[in-house]
Amino acid sequence: MSVRVLLPNAFQKHTNGTREIQSSAGNLPQLISEIETTFPALRSHLRDESGQVRRFINFYVNEEDIRFLGNDKYSFKDGDEVLVIPSIAGGCCAAGECASRGIRLAAVCSCCSYCGQEECCCGD
């Protein structure tokens, strides 16, 4: 199994100009590890002080934000094209906790959708 990974210009200073790699990673955490092994100079730039992948780095699979696909839980398929784009938005932590928390918030959060207050009585 192989996926095509497109790297942004901003990475090239740390990748000796490499713009594209083929990877056999099965999911996002594996892919990030592989990128770091292939380009050791990139590692300290890719992660913050706590070891988390920096939040401004976004990953997309075949035009879809990987966070819509399950983030770390998404299994790459043969022929997938993975796009790495920094600085589009806030992003979230690489562990995928944010994504799962987001789903929880949307599904069961007790915030009022009208005023945003928990336990509010707008709708009563």
Partner: protein
Amino acid sequence: MAAAYELRCRECGKRYENAPLSICDECFSPLEVVCDLEAAKRTLTREAIAAGPSSMWRYQALLPVPEDYKPVTPAGWTPLLHAPRLAERIGARNLFIKNDAVCLPTLSFKDRVVAVALANAQIFGFDTVGCSSTGNLANAVAAGAARLGLKTYILVPGDLEPAKILNTQVYGATLVRIDGNYDHVNRLCSQIADRYNWGFVNVNLRPYYAEGSKTVGFEIAEQLGWRLPDNVVVPMAGGSLITKIRKAFKELIALGLVEEKEVRFFGAQATGCSPIATAVKTGADHIEPQRPATIARSLAIGNPADGVYAARAIRESGGWAEDVSDVEIVSAIQELAETEGIFTETAGGVTTAVTARLYAHGRIHPDELTVACITGNGLKTTDVLQGAYEQHAAIRPRLTDFENYLEECSEENELELGGAYVR
């Protein structure tokens, strides 16, 4: 600082010389322009500004362009209107509208950011410029580039309003419709900017572009007689405008042009695309991307570039964010037009509806000086009012026909008042 401005990483603080660059190569976070306020302080006075042109360029010393830059398009300096009739309708007593529905040359606040971005595109030597856009930016880039003789590639979502498409193509721009939403378009533009030597105003020129938004804040302060309001309500798409109005107020305080004051910032989004409002409401320090589904297409950015900073600015200021439904957006467009004679597009409907809700929920006190920012013109999104008004049959050009018509109208009104007819 060598020049009067330079680039700096918003996260790690690394400095960069001026270049078409928007991403820090150390931590991959966004860059922004920092102006040398100490240098500006020596010459910038209220009088010097008042003696400047009647456009956003009266604040040129606080924008990232060379001192000797000669602007070619007088964007900005739009009216700040007292809005007593809308205020009465929504329970306010001290409400103002900053009306960028009449910002020149293309009737949205994007003319401000484009003016600064294209100035820098020329400085960096680009002969081709472009943008990803939900419409207003497309219009502004197309017009601005035409005036400067630059080639233009503009990428937009495939379902954009017809008026915004026409208002881009008329300037001779190459319009590329993308089968996807704005976030798809924006991502593609990031790739194109990496590959082609073009100046994308909201990608590789973004730090310069964003500074143009500060002029909304400068103008509000000057038009209020060099004082800051208590509250500002701002529509949020990518989230940049609200952060830059705040930056503008801080710069004016640092320059001693206004008295220090904590202004509260309120963000407005459509419920069908509300990633920043959601972050504010849930207290999250990150943005969860959304798939947009709203008629407010100029605000339909599911993965907002400055979302984190917008949410932070709102929280730090003691403000709040709200989101409103598409039905409320259309009603608010009508309400603003009927009460203040301002015809805004859907984004302005969002701002107006959110402003009303903030008063209704007691988040803004009626007596506080509040400015609602209207950023675009209703003539660009007339499709949302399709069918909203009945057209009666044409009458003959005779006085008797006109009198009959008036009589029919009054009968209809009576029926309406009696509750038998509901619009």
